[in-house]
């Protein structure tokens, strides 16, 4: 984990050297800013975790205005998000934090919010065109995801290396494909020379199919030492498959997973190490970003640097993943193993 922190610090150093950089701004606590946290929809764990993180930040910043956690139902996500943004605009809140599920259809509502002086911060999922959006708080970036997976593979398989296979979501899952490509790019580094990727299968993010595909991998490539699953469904299914077949001593599982779901497999050694960004931290950082934009302590401009409480320093940059728009890159990944998975699963 240390090297990612270092990498993050290096990124920040670069940010500080760039022209127009400001000193790290610290938030002034106690200002009353009405803020709305709007997830894609209510009722799933990651968004609740983000809410928890935002509440934590709100308490630290002693914002006297209560954080509103408002969201639509999954069936009504698009119209519901638009409605909530519109009503928040009517109420004259100071900042809206959106995990956008409406593509560019949220743009007119978001623009009206901005026109009313409201700061619009997206998190988890941005507004594609970046119109109507001040800043996007991104969880991790693709390059980093690739390096994290390559490092976990190296650590699990050891210096002697070996063969490993990938269990992904669906063949056209944009995130997974980008992460796998980033890992393959990272593997070109000589330090991973002994790691050999032998195949990719797809479990379509369905537990049963992923389970069977994991077993099929072991049959097809008898010598593999690791299954890398960059999907929270696939990683659990693969770990269960290896456990059920008593293969955990020969074939390990790693990838991106949710601590709560991975706890047993990490404890029994089937999946000794896996990674995920923390949604709690994402909510926390999003709240800090939106609060400081609302108070005017930072502006939505590249080069603006600020301190987000316990997470440390961040800088607003142009978003390299979109044609337009600004982003704050959270990083680093949280790497989970037997030593910390229990605490994270709570």
């Amino acid at each position: 984990m240390r090297e990612y922190v270092l990498a993050g610090a290096a990124l920040l150093a670069v940010g500080m050297l760039s022209p127009g950089a400001h000193a790290q701004v610290k938030a002034t606590p106690g200002k009353a800013e009405n803020m709305v946290l709007l997830p894609k929809f209510l009722g799933i764990l990651p968004f609740d975790q983000a809410h928890r993180g935002a509440e934590e930040a709100a308490a630290e910043l002693k914002n006297p205005a209560k954080l509103q956690y408002l969201g639509p139902t999954p069936e009504n996500s698009v119209a519901g998000q638009i409605e909530i943004v519109t009503n928040a605009t009517t109420q004259g809140v100071n900042a809206i934090m959106i995990s956008n599920n409406s593509g560019d259809q949220i743009v007119p509502a978001a623009k009206k919010a901005q026109a009313a002086g409201i700061k619009v911060v997206t998190w988890d999922s941005p507004i594609p065109s970046a119109e109507g959006e001040d800043v996007f708080v991104a969880q991790v970036d693709f390059t980093q995801t690739g390096r994290v997976m390559a490092d976990m593979a190296l650590k699990i398989m050891g210096p002697e290396g070996g063969k490993f296979a990938i269990l992904s979501a669906s063949p056209d899952a944009a995130n997974q494909n980008a992460w796998i490509a980033a890992m393959q790019e990272a593997l070109k580094d000589p330090k991973y020379a002994k790691l050999q990727q032998v195949g990719i299968v797809y479990g379509n993010d369905q537990s049963e199919l992923s389970y069977n595909q994991a077993l099929a991998l072991v049959d097809k490539y008898p010598g593999i030492k690791l299954i890398m699953a960059p999907t929270s469904v696939g990683i659990v299914a693969a770990a269960k498959a290896m456990q059920d077949e008593g293969l955990c001593n020969k074939v390990k599982v790693s990838g991106l997973g949710v601590p709560k779901e991975m706890l047993a497999y990490t404890k029994n050694g089937c999946a000794p190490e896996f990674a995920l960004w923390s949604f709690v931290d994402l909510g926390y950082l999003t709240y800090y970003t939106a609060y400081m934009l609302a108070t005017g302590e930072i502006k939505a401009e590249p080069g603006q640097s600020f301190t987000a409480g316990r997470l440390g320093n961040y800088t607003i940059t142009k978003d390299p993943t979109r044609k337009a728009g600004l982003r704050v890159l959270m990083g680093p990944f949280s790497i989970y193993d037997a030593s910390n998975v229990e605490a994270a699963a709570k």
Partner: protein
């Protein structure tokens, strides 16, 4: 008997009106923003496409039919417009193509229902799937946006004062359909057919023509609503308006229109629209969203939709016992 039915409907509308007054008073007491002009406009704008389609749906249901394909036609129309526009067709022509797709959908629905005699439930259910399929094939998962400014402005800005084009269309349709349904010969036929299809046939009513007219009109209105929706959001996706048909139908039923046809009126539906919109808006301003909001509105609808139908069922059974 007509007088009795009339009294029942009057009673229902009275109930809706009372409910509306309660909701308005609570909203006024609760939020200082509620009566702002901007909020009142938003209150309509956020659901405007649904309530436009609901007006036409009222005639369909009074006629004893149902049109489940409206939301899919909305989506198809928006997608035809978006797809043609992206292919280089000037926007006005793309919009015309979208309206034409609505006419086509209406003719298909109407043909099977009015001339072949299949139940509208089955035909428009097929339409719900089929027209949505067209929408998804045309636009897929990618959103199509970047329309000219005038198009977005039509959907998002006031045309006459704060009144948007959509709201003006809604008000105009309410007036025109009110006149048609309650003043014109066609309106009388809609009720006659809805009340007793066989009797209407035997007495020489041109049932087919009436039904065909209604289904084409329904699809055309839905296609128009799809374009208004596209303009309001400034971007089109294949899943646009998905699931709206159920909201639209419940608005009509809450308005006191019998699902069995033959009874109900536009005034009741107008009140039902106001009840739902003000309730939603009030809850939104009180920061009640998600499942809580859905449950409250759902509970109201269950209660209100069941009440008149149970009453009618009892009434029919009672009548059966008398004869």
């Amino acid at each position: 008997m007509i007088a009795a039915a009339f009294a029942r409907l009057r009673g229902w509308e009275g109930l809706l009106l009372a409910l509306l007054v309660v909701i308005v008073v609570v909203n006024m007491a609760h939020s200082p923003y509620y009566l702002g002009v901007g909020n009142i406009i938003n209150l309509f704008q956020l659901e405007i496409e649904k309530i436009i389609v609901a007006l036409m749906m009222t005639l369909i249901i009074i006629n004893g039919e149902i049109d489940l394909s409206v939301a899919s036609v909305m989506g198809m129309s928006a997608c035809v417009m978006a797809w043609s526009f992206r292919a280089g067709v000037p926007l006005p022509w793309a919009m015309l193509a979208a309206m034409a797709s609505g006419v086509a959908a209406g003719l298909i629905n109407g043909f099977w229902i009015a001339y072949v005699g299949l139940p509208s439930l089955a035909v428009t259910l097929a339409g719900l799937i089929g027209y949505r399929g067209v929408a998804r094939i045309l636009v897929q998962d990618r959103a199509i946006g970047d329309y000219p400014g005038w198009f977005n402005a039509l959907g998002q800005q006031g045309l006459v004062g704060p009144l948007t084009l959509s709201i003006i269309i809604f008000l105009a349709m309410f007036a025109v359909l009110g006149l048609v349904l309650h003043g014109a010969a066609l309106g009388r036929l809609v009720y006659v057919i809805g009340n007793n299809l066989q009797a209407a046939r035997y007495s020489g009513v041109r049932v087919r023509r009436v039904k065909m007219t209604l289904f084409v009109a329904s699809a055309v209105v839905a296609a128009l609503a799809g374009l208004l929706y596209a303009a309001r959001l400034g971007s089109v996706r294949g899943d646009m308006a998905q699931g709206f048909e159920l909201d639209i139908i419940t608005i009509v039923l809450l308005g006191g229109v019998s699902i069995f046809g033959g009874s109900g009126n536009l005034l009741g539906v107008g009140l039902s629209i106001l009840v739902i919109l003000n309730l939603r808006n009030g809850m939104g301003l009180a920061d009640i969203t998600g499942n809580t909001q859905t449950s409250v509105i759902g509970a109201l609808l269950i209660l209100s939709v069941l009440a008149p139908n149970i009453a009618q069922a009892i009434h029919i059974r009672w009548k059966g016992r008398e004869t």
